[in-house]
């Protein structure tokens, strides 16, 4: 799966999470915005982490050299 595909998956997961939180605990506009902020932050952090590790392995400059006795 490519970079774009997985990014879209992260986005969709984020949307699903915010919708489900809105459905389960709808407590007024300011609280809803607060929950939304938390979910967006979490999604962005997780995506960044994944994207960084993925991009670093796209076109690597070094390859694994196994150690003796593997």
């Amino acid at each position: 799966m490519g970079f774009l595909m997985t990014t879209i998956i992260f986005f969709v997961v984020g949307v699903v999470a915010s919708v489900s939180v809105r459905l389960c605990c709808n407590r007024g506009p300011s609280t809803n915005l607060f929950h939304l902020t938390l979910i967006i932050t979490a999604t962005v952090c997780s995506w960044m982490m994944w994207a960084i590790v993925y991009l670093a392995q796209l076109k690597p400059l070094i390859v694994p050299i196994l150690s003796e006795g593997e």
């Binding site: 607060f34 997780s46 590790v53």
Partner: protein, 827 residues
């Protein structure tokens, strides 16, 4: 400073987005309440139940003894002392009092005072009686011992004396000479007189002093005494001290009055208790039976006494908690009443304090109820005051967000209504922790531990826990978030107790040819697309693992750091917009954003481009030579066309932004100040008296001086801090790499050198030892020490690198008068 005007004006922010929970502290207002004296007590009681009003001390200049309700507080103090006495007695008797109040009936305060006094007197009396009885009991026990043991002496002495007597008689009969009867008569004549003068003292002496006792007796009586001692098997309770001491029973024979006085004094000095003894056997038996009778009598009396005392204490225990609460609340109410100022007419009390705007109706409701319940003729007056004082900061948190808010508050309480970093801390703090902790096996252990705490929440919150347990319990939601994120980053780093798994598809690397000859020299080749989720499992254990992971994690730290710092700068923009501070927006936010991003944002961009293109450019070289020789040709370090011009532009932008941050703001502030004072000077001439009156009790910003040099230096420091901080803070984020490396290395060492080593011996005993050592090392080093370490560093990154971009943190916390908070304070 002219920066923050009109703090109390409600801002209409409907424009871009609605207000967010917890983002800014609640709007507060300064309120004056005028209460008639008869309903004051009840009013404060209801306000204490509500817990949303912080009283200001209007009598700050008075000493505690000058205040109106000092007597009441003394009464409360007395009652609290009595309650403490009861608690001690209950603890000594081993009676537990129930934590919750058993009855909910309202008790009258004065009645309770009388009752407490009575109970205390009764308890003290019962205790002293008990003590006396116990003392007599112990004395009688000792007497019993003396009777028994001394009786043995006399019995044995008697038998040996009769034996000797018979011997002498036998000899007499055997000898049968004429002149001996005279001598014998003389002996017999003298014997009775000697017998008459021989006295004895019997008693008990502590075993450790027995030798010294004997020696001193010997010296004092010049050897004219005979001491018999016998040890008592079990330690005896000393009547005077009440402790168990090993004692000896002694009988000392002496002759003469002087010897007697000496011996008595020595006995006193050694704490030897004396008991009378008769050498008549008949009387001895009688004494023994008498004493044992008395002993059993006393025992029953003492037991009854204890029972009576326990009954009293049990009755107290049913109502103890309720009384305790009542005394505590009354004391708090009187302390608060002391803070109110008495009006000149002495008919009403004036209270001033802060309360949240949303609580207005609740407070007015409480005031009305108090007026009604106290049958007062006059109602209370609720009045909102306008002031320029800075209000306290109040965040409404629930059990989940309170722990995170406490983390932020530990550094500094937010200024009134500035942006609260706590909102983002809820996610970014566990996330940065997880970047440094990254192992899904350890993450799952943490999650299990914290889920146990969360499921037993209700039970644990009512118990008294130790200090460390209290901290862990308070932070259970923080730890849960940390554990969840750790599982995620563990899956990305592909480490389960340092073991990688191939869970998300096939690894991208394979041998060059089927025989894998070159695997250890030239390495594997990339035959497929990159591993879809996380670090490729083939890296673990390879020789090039560290160079690859180090490069990856360092660059990741920089990217995450630049992102978080940008978030901080953007929050400073929101603060500037909220407080309508356009100076901050144009002359602080924008140059800061430009400076940070033209240098480190550009570095992040280079990192990403290098990864995407697989170029071999040396980024250190690029960054350094961007400054040293920006016009030089890039050569093989070129990552994209137009890079040289872009670098020149960014360098220029960065250079411009420094004076942009430094100069305009102080100059414009001075201009603003002069404009304001220009306008003011006319009004001062017209009505001097009025304007002075308005500013009397609240801080006025019109009287403040504007020292240009001070403001300029302040701005200079801020600029230098930001510019130098941009480099140092970015480098500081490299601790994310450092701790993550340490964690994975430790984890890998424990796995390979302990578990695998033990497995290799093929011996069940060694395997078990190995597993035990592995578990202990994992829990002790990785789950406890590493958790604390990563927690600390994530905390530092938030407090310093993130918050110094926007957070002022010089507010004070809202401390309302609340009975619920009192209960927490006591513990």
């Amino acid at each position: 400073m002219g920066d923050y005007r009109g703090l109390n004006v409600r801002r209409d922010r409907g424009g871009c987005c609605p207000p967010m929970d917890l983002m800014r502290s609640e709007a507060m207002q300064l309120v004056r309440i005028i209460v008639p004296v008869e309903s004051a007590h009840l009013t404060l009681s209801y306000l204490g139940d509500l817990g949303l009003f912080q009283f200001k001390d209007l009598n700050a200049d008075k000493s505690p003894f000058q205040r109106t309700y000092a007597n009441q507080i003394k009464r409360c103090g007395e009652m609290a002392r009595k309650l403490r006495l009861f608690r001690e007695q209950m603890a000594k008797a081993g009676i537990a009092h129930s934590e919750m109040a058993m009855t909910q009936t309202r008790i009258d305060f004065d009645e309770m005072e009388i009752k407490l006094g009575e109970l205390e007197a009764e308890l003290i009396e019962v205790n002293s009686n008990n003590e006396k009885l116990q003392r007599s009991y112990n004395e009688l026990l000792e007497y019993m011992l003396v009777l028994k043991k001394a009786g043995e002496f006399f019995y044995s002495a008697q038998s040996s004396a009769t034996a000797q007597h018979r011997e002498i008689e036998a000899r007499q009969i055997g000898d049968g000479s004429i002149d001996s009867p005279l001598l014998l008569e003389q002996e017999m004549l003298t014997d009775p007189s000697k017998q008459v003068k021989l006295g004895f003292v019997s008693g008990l002496v502590p075993k450790e002093k027995a030798m010294a006792f004997e020696r001193i007796l010997f010296r004092a009586t010049r050897g004219n005494m005979y001491l018999r001692q016998a040890a008592v098997d079990d330690p005896v309770i000393d009547p005077i001290s009440g402790e168990k001491i090993a004692k000896n029973v002694f009988v000392v024979f002496y002759s003469g009055e002087r010897a007697k006085t000496k011996i008595l004094k020595i006995c006193e000095a050694f704490g030897a208790n004396r008991y009378p003894f008769t050498d008549d056997i008949g009387k001895q038996m009688q004494m023994i039976s008498e004493v044992s009778g008395k002993i059993t009598e006393l025992k029953t009396t003492i037991d009854l006494g204890m029972l009576h005392r326990d009954n009293i204490l049990k009755n107290i225990s049913y109502q103890f908690e309720q009384w305790n609460n009542l005394v505590r609340t009354e004391k708090a109410i009187y302390h608060t009443l002391n803070m109110l100022s008495l009006d000149v007419t002495k008919k009403c009390l004036v209270a001033e304090g802060w309360s949240p705007v949303f609580a207005t109706s609740q407070i007015q409701d409480a005031l009305q109820r108090a007026t009604y319940d106290s049958n007062s003729q006059v109602g209370s007056i609720f009045q909102v005051l306008h002031t320029k004082e800075s209000p306290p900061t109040y965040f409404q948190t629930n059990k989940f967000t309170s722990a995170f808010q406490e983390i932020v508050d530990a550094y500094g309480i937010a200024k009134y209504q500035e942006a609260n970093p706590g909102v983002y801390t809820i996610i970014t703090f566990p996330f940065l922790f997880a970047v440094m902790f990254g192992d899904w096996g350890h993450g799952m252990c943490l999650l299990l531990a914290t889920l146990m705490l969360i499921f037993r929440e209700k039970k644990l919150s009512s118990q008294k826990l130790g200090d460390i347990m209290e901290m862990m319990f308070g932070g259970r939601y923080v730890i849960m978030m940390m554990a969840l994120f750790s599982i995620y980053t563990g899956l990305i780093y592909n480490e389960f107790f340092s073991v990688p798994f191939e869970m998300f598809g096939r690894s991208a690397y394979a041998c060059r040819d089927p025989s894998c000859r070159d695997a250890t020299t030239d390495g594997l080749v990339k035959v497929r697309e990159a591993y879809p989720f996380g670090v490729d499992p083939k890296w673990h254990g390879s020789r090039t693992e560290l160079p690859f992971l180090n490069s990856l994690k360092m660059k990741m730290s920089i990217l995450l750091g630049v992102a978080q710092m940008n978030l901080g700068i953007i929050l400073s923009y929101f603060n500037a917009k909220f407080f309508s501070n356009s100076l901050n927006t144009w002359y602080q936010f924008i140059p800061q954003l430009i400076f940070l991003n033209s240098l480190f944002g550009y570095l992040s961009l280079l990192i990403i481009v290098k990864w995407c293109t697989g170029s071999q450019a040396d980024l250190y070289h690029v960054m350094i030579y961007m400054f040293l020789s920006p016009t030089d040709d890039l050569g093989e370090n070129q990552l994209f066309p137009g890079q040289k011009t872009l670098q020149l532009v960014l360098l220029l932008l960065a250079l411009i932004s420094v004076p942009w941050m430094l100069f305009p703001k102080p100059i414009l502030l001075r201009k603003q100040h002069n404009e304001r004072h220009q306008g003011q000077s006319y009004t001062v001439i017209h009505n001097t008296e009025e304007s002075l009156e308005i500013e009397e009790d609240h801080d006025s910003h019109d009287h403040e001086e504007f020292e240009f040099s001070e403001v300029f230096v302040h701005q200079l420091i801020h600029t230098i801090e930001f510019v130098l901080g941009a480099v140092s803070n970015t480098a500081s984020y490299l601790r994310l790499w450092a701790l993550s490396l340490a964690h994975s290395e430790l984890s890998s060492v424990f796995y390979e050198k302990v578990l695998l080593l033990a497995w290799g011996f093929n011996n069940i005993a060694i395997l078990i030892i190995g597993i035990v050592v592995f578990v202990c090392a994992t829990i002790g080093v990785l789950l406890v020490m590493e958790t604390l370490s990563a927690f600390l560093h994530a905390l530092r990154l938030h407090w310093v690198e993130f918050q110094n971009k926007f957070y002022e943190g010089d507010g004070y916390k809202f401390a309302p008068f609340s009975f619920a908070l009192l209960a927490d304070e006591e513990d």
